[in-house]
């Protein structure tokens, strides 16, 4: 049978979400001959639709349905209704991501063993390790066309990188380069070469950056095995008396409730929406939500220890020109408790346009201390900090029954408190980042607080033992054999690296496993 599929076709795999997890999984399954219906809350936005305009693009792509926040993290104060900066579109947040594609370090798969007992943290080793993941990482790097892997050269350094590199070298940092990026650095590929346009976050108009939205989804659709239903917002996942899932109820693009039957359901709606769907699917058989016998659904929300450092100089930098994040210092990503914290962090170049700089440099600030910084916008350089944050059981996504979305469904509340290890690491990173720019003659430096989260992890974490998490090493829920989690919510721990490459590698691996199990008749 080929797409489109009937609502009553119970032979299909339903994938919810089409980002780095769901979009890749849907394509990989389709390539293997599995019939897939992908339900995507957002619409279709292709490179020709993207705009080089920060706020206009935000309006086009961002997920702005209501959410609420609590906890001591500064995002809850500065952006109380917008805990995450993620995308509602076919392709999900791969439309917006910067392209940084880093493998976990070996020890990061074994955070509990490596870091030992960290008070207040719910650290756990992953049930998989670096050796298990190495071949899947290679497939992911080939799919995404990651620079500095295979025979792919690195991107050239832009102005922002040159400032960053000079400061890094002055400090003695050695692992400094233009990054491993899912952005084409030459003309010899099936995607265009990077034209140094900037606006990577607004969707790459050249298609030089990999996105599931215009790479994997069309590939999958070309097989005839994948049907993508956009503007389809999932309400809940249904199950039978045997405790197996049987289908998915969703609101279609006209707002009508539909039900798609399914043989297997794979949830990939990001670390907020995935647990939300499981919790909103509570029934008399599963009163605490699907796959939640452990009570772990929604817990251990991680967002990476983040922050930024901007600096002004006495001469122009024009940081907005060129690739947004093609620059990295990796020396601090090691685990070295002598610095006063466990785990490590990466420093990566980052540029914002004037409109977003005004919104994010120091949210809520006003007066000349703030505006004199913007006066020097042309002379500004910037970097982003991304490090491993500690999983905590109390950092969690829960349903907020007092607030509903446009479909009448309870929204999520996102509670997050920084762990002392997160704070110690952030302060260290601020110091190092400021030192990088001071070494190049910065006139002022700005330790900028975290933005709404783009790296949303945990909340359905992977565990060897069913009592410790929600899914097993295949992303299969411990409780329901035909219900899988396929996004970053599976992450047991966050590691220091940008998560997309790992989400993609896990999705390719999961597709391989699922297709095998389906062909054996085990699901």
């Amino acid at each position: 049978m080929t797409a489109p599929f009937d609502l009553t076709d119970d032979s299909v795999v339903v994938v919810i979400g089409t980002g780095a997890g769901g979009g890749v999984l849907a394509n990989e399954l389709a390539q293997k001959g599995v019939s897939v219906v992908a339900l995507e809350a957002g619409g279709r936005h292709l490179p020709e639709d993207f705009v080089n305009d920060e706020w206009a693009s935000f309006g086009q792509l961002a997920w702005v349905d209501p959410r609420t926040t609590s906890g001591d993290w500064r995002v809850a104060k500065d952006f109380s209704g917008l805990p995450a900066w993620i995308v509602k579109s076919v392709g999900g947040t791969t439309q917006h991501w910067a392209g940084a594609s880093l493998r976990f370090q070996d020890h990061e798969w074994k955070a509990a063993t490596t870091y030992g007992n960290v008070q207040g943290a719910s650290l756990l080793d992953w049930p998989i390790d670096a050796a298990e993941m190495a071949p899947w990482y290679s497939k992911a790097e080939d799919k995404l066309g990651v620079t500095r892997t295979g025979d792919r050269p690195g991107l050239p350094g832009n102005n922002n990188y040159k400032v960053f590199e000079k400061g890094a070298k002055a400090l003695g940092y050695e692992q400094v380069h233009t990054g491993r990026m899912a952005i084409n650095s030459d003309d010899n590929r099936d995607r265009a070469m990077c034209q140094q346009t900037g606006f990577c976050f607004q969707g790459c108009k050249w298609g030089a950056k990999w996105s599931a939205g215009y790479v994997d989804i069309p590939e999958g659709e070309a097989t005839g095995n994948l049907e993508v239903r956009s503007q389809s917002h999932v309400a809940r996942i249904l199950h039978n008396d045997a405790g197996k899932v049987t289908g998915v109820e969703y609101f279609d693009s006209d707002g009508n409730l539909q039900m798609q039957k399914a043989r297997v359901v794979c949830v990939a709606g990001n670390s907020f929406e995935s647990p939300r769907m499981l919790l909103n699917s509570a029934s008399s058989m599963f009163p605490d939500g699907l796959a939640n016998s452990s009570g772990q659904v929604g817990r251990n929300y991680m967002r990476h220890m983040t922050g930024s450092v901007y600096a002004t100089f006495d001469k122009p930098v024009k940081m907005w020109r060129g690739t947004t994040m093609a620059g990295i210092i990796q020396d601090e990503s090691r685990h070295d408790p002598s610095r006063g914290f466990v785990g490590g962090y990466e420093l990566e170049t980052l540029a914002l346009g004037l409109p977003f700089m005004a919104a994010f440099l120091d949210p809520g600030a006003w007066g000349r201390e703030f505006t004199s910084a913007l006066d020097a916008y042309e002379n500004m350089a910037g970097m982003w900090i991304v490090g491993e944050d500690m999983p905590q059981e109390t950092n969690r996504v829960t349903l907020n029954h007092d607030v509903t979305d446009q479909y009448g469904l309870p929204v999520v509340n996102v509670h997050f408190d920084d762990h002392p290890n997160d704070i110690a690491m952030r302060n260290h990173a601020y110091q190092q980042g400021q030192a990088v720019y001071d070494a190049v003659g910065a006139t002022r430096t700005f330790p900028t607080p975290p933005y709404p989260s783009t790296h949303n992890l945990g909340t359905n974490r992977m565990s060897a033992n069913a009592r410790d998490g929600v899914v097993n090493k295949w992303g299969q829920t411990h409780d329901i054999e035909n219900l899988f989690i396929s996004d970053g919510s599976q992450f047991t721990t966050g590691a220091a690296e940008n998560p997309t490459l790992t989400i993609v590698a896990l999705a390719i691996r999961q597709a391989d496993h699922l297709a095998s199990e389906l062909s054996k008749g085990n699901l």
């Binding site: 080089n52 040159k162 990077c194 001469k315 020109r321 060129g322 919104a359 006003w366 913007l374 916008y377």
Partner: protein, 174 residues
């Protein structure tokens, strides 16, 4: 334009002189505001002109950029000149003037130095009114494409082929 009397009985000349003392550069009349250099002009439809003039000054004091002309601040707050928004703005500006009187000035525009106005604003920065104006300015001021070149920001680049041949790596002082 002849001498126009505002609702408080001040002449246009008095209003202008008061505004000038505060560093603002408005010609204010009944429902009409203009820059003396004719860089911009607008008529208020709902807000009192002096309320609007005070609001523009407040906007500049929150996000002061000496190289950004008044017309951009006017543009950033003119959206409050509507029937829905005006009552809250009139009340907020009245509170601002009252706060200025508490600091010993006749009103917000009667202050001499920016630092005096900043002191007044600091005292009300947690108010809903202040946060409404400040929050609105983040996009109202900085998302005006016409303001970007003043800061050197070049905006959209795709239509020019990006920067691959236009200086993405042209830094020359390192």
């Amino acid at each position: 334009m002849g001498t126009i009397t505002d609702p408080k009985g001040l002449t246009r000349r008095q209003l202008l002189s008061r505004s000038t003392a505060a560093g603002a550069s408005f010609v204010v009349g009944a429902g009409f505001l203009a820059a003396p250099n004719a860089a911009w002009a607008m008529e208020t439809t709902v807000l009192k002109p002096e309320t609007f003039a005070t609001l523009v000054q407040m906007a500049r004091d929150i996000y002061p950029h000496d190289k950004v002309g008044d017309e951009f601040y006017v543009m950033a707050v003119k959206g409050y000149d509507t029937a829905d928004a005006a009552p809250g703005i009139e009340a907020g500006i009245a509170a601002l003037d009252a706060a200025a009187q508490g600091h010993g000035f006749g009103g917000y525009l009667d202050t001499g130095w920016e630092r005096d106005r900043v002191d007044i604003l600091r005292g009300m920065e947690n108010s809903a009114f202040f946060q409404q104006i400040r929050g609105g300015l983040v996009t109202g001021l900085y998302n005006q494409k016409a303001v970007w070149p003043i800061f050197g920001y070049e905006g959209s680049s795709f239509e020019f082929g990006g920067y691959i041949d236009r200086g993405f790596d042209d830094i020359n002082w390192l």
